[in-house]
Amino acid sequence: MATGAREAAQVRGKWLVSGPPILYLLVFFAAPTLIMAAASLRTPGEFGGLAPLVDEAGKLDLNFDSFARFFTEPVYLEVFVKSVIFATATTVLCLLIAYPLASVIATSPKRVRSLLLLLVILPFWSNFLIRIYAWMIILGPNAALARGVNGMLAWFGAGPVPLLFSSFAVLVCLVYVHLPFMVLPLYANLEKHDPALLDAAQDLGAHAWQRFWRITFPLSLPGVYAGAALVFIPALGIFAIPDLLGGPNDTLIGNLIKQQFLETRDWPFGSVLSIVLTVAALALAGLAAWFGQRATRARALVDA
């Protein structure tokens, strides 16, 4: 029948369109994740890499030794917690800086708006590493900034502090690198707000702060969550910034993973760290979404 043939053609067309991206995800995302999960259960090889799956005695060599190592040696958990703290601080600072920025862009005249958006994404045009090196120069001991700060500290009788190779440098650069990822979703959200709602709120007796807190902010929560996820997840696993700008105490979980694969060549433990990172990111994102939903529901009840 003609309709049957048309339906078949439709199904074929659907697969033709969605097939390649699905295949891409399977080959380059699902498969590596499975390989990593399998590697986490194996024994490290004598000269790096993995020991044979089946040992000399003919026994299958799968174990939880690497997982046990992560959870029993406190230094790894410490690094992990430190990473969460850095990522959280980055997210909060990005939000505090991006929110006013995004609302200024969203409320500016249409002509200016695209220019401002262009400026927000302009840093992407230069290489990520080059931008980090730029921060090394800005924060370097001979740069005007460090001299100014230390000059001022000396004036108050405090000793000079290094700006570069410190947690401060790591945080500044983390915020700098991730800021556009917070600005863009927030802007996309705020730009859609109906200005009549703020007129109505004002007409009903709300002053500026109440208008923001009761109308604008709750309506922008989807943008806040999207931005927070886009900042928090990459910030949690980053290694280049602490590598280049951090001090010896600023090792984060990303650095640890890189170290395990490239220097120590302990693939199973590197895999364990990666899995912990992935699971933690997923869990925290899920938790945030759950809290967000509960918060809006609770607010609806309070309003009632």
């Binding site: 009549a196 007129d199 109505a200 007409d203 007796g205 709300a206 009761r214 009632a304």
Partner: protein, 387 residues
Amino acid sequence: MQKPGPRSRQGFLIQLRVANEGLRRAMPLLELRQVTRRFGDFTAVDHVDLAIDAGEFFTLLGPSGCGKTTLLRMIAGFEQPDEGQVLLDGVDLADSPPEARPVRTVFQSYALFPHMSVEGNVAFPLQMAKTPAREIPKRVAEALEDVRLTGFGRRYPHELSGGQRQRVAIARALVTHPTMLLLDEPLAALDAKLREEMQIELINLQKQAGITFVYVTHDQTEALALSHRIAVMNRGNVEQVDEPSKVYRFPKSRFVADFIGQCNLFSGTVAARDGGIVSIAVDALGTVRVATPSTIAPGTRASIALRPEQIRIGASQGDTASDNRFRGTVSDLLYMGDVTVYRVRTDGGAEVEALLANSQTGRAKFFEPGDAVEMDWPAAAGHFIED
């Protein structure tokens, strides 16, 4: 007509109002004095004077761009007049922002808060006014009852129909018992049937609450049906302020006559004036007589506004005396069910619209295109307008 109690929370203005208690009966609730607002080169509102009394249903009527919404936004406080004053109970509002004014607006888009339930929306102005939390549920329930939405409190705006949203917006605006309610084309988004229902509801609400309504619309039938008084606006000016029947029957200008209802506008030169009857020579039609107290001099240009329903139209009425009688041919007709509008081309070539109720049983309508007819009307039927 005012509810005591909650009002007193509205602060400064109210104290002034109480102080002026003795004066208030003598003066209008809202007074606009020479109010002007310009946007660049464009004058949206041009030296407008208006006085609106307490308890009135007052309508600002005019085509889009006539300045009615700008005027409303100046009363609400969203726009500041470039010149002139807005006085509420004799107090100049220049320094009070919208949130401090005891007036509330119902917006054309309703502007309900999408993240709050119906109850949340209605409670909002009470929370802003720092109403004790214990009182809020009771007040919200009362307001929802007033607009017949009891039981809808837990719903969200996106779960409501257009008419229900409209009522939530009204409940939200009325819950704090404002002095005045400003409505900006509140029925424009509703379909015809619902609009009619809401009109009746608005009239009842206004009567019940005893609150002054200032209503903005471009729909003249709506204005005629709802208002105690109408201000007809055109290009930033108020052309006429009057009761609906007066605005309709005795328009002060050609614009008002033309904008409100259907109207035949005859322009010509005054030929003679004789004991309260002015004869005007109208091109293509002939001499039209109209009753007016005007003492206009012959030779001056003038107009006559004549409503289509004032014209008697018949096949042939013989030679009975009449002030105005013209013969013509039906060129077009508009059958509307209850009435039919006939467009008649007179022998001189003028187009006249006459309206006839389809009241005679057994016949759907009286004339067909091409029929020869005779029209006549007394001098008192037309309305004289000085150009």
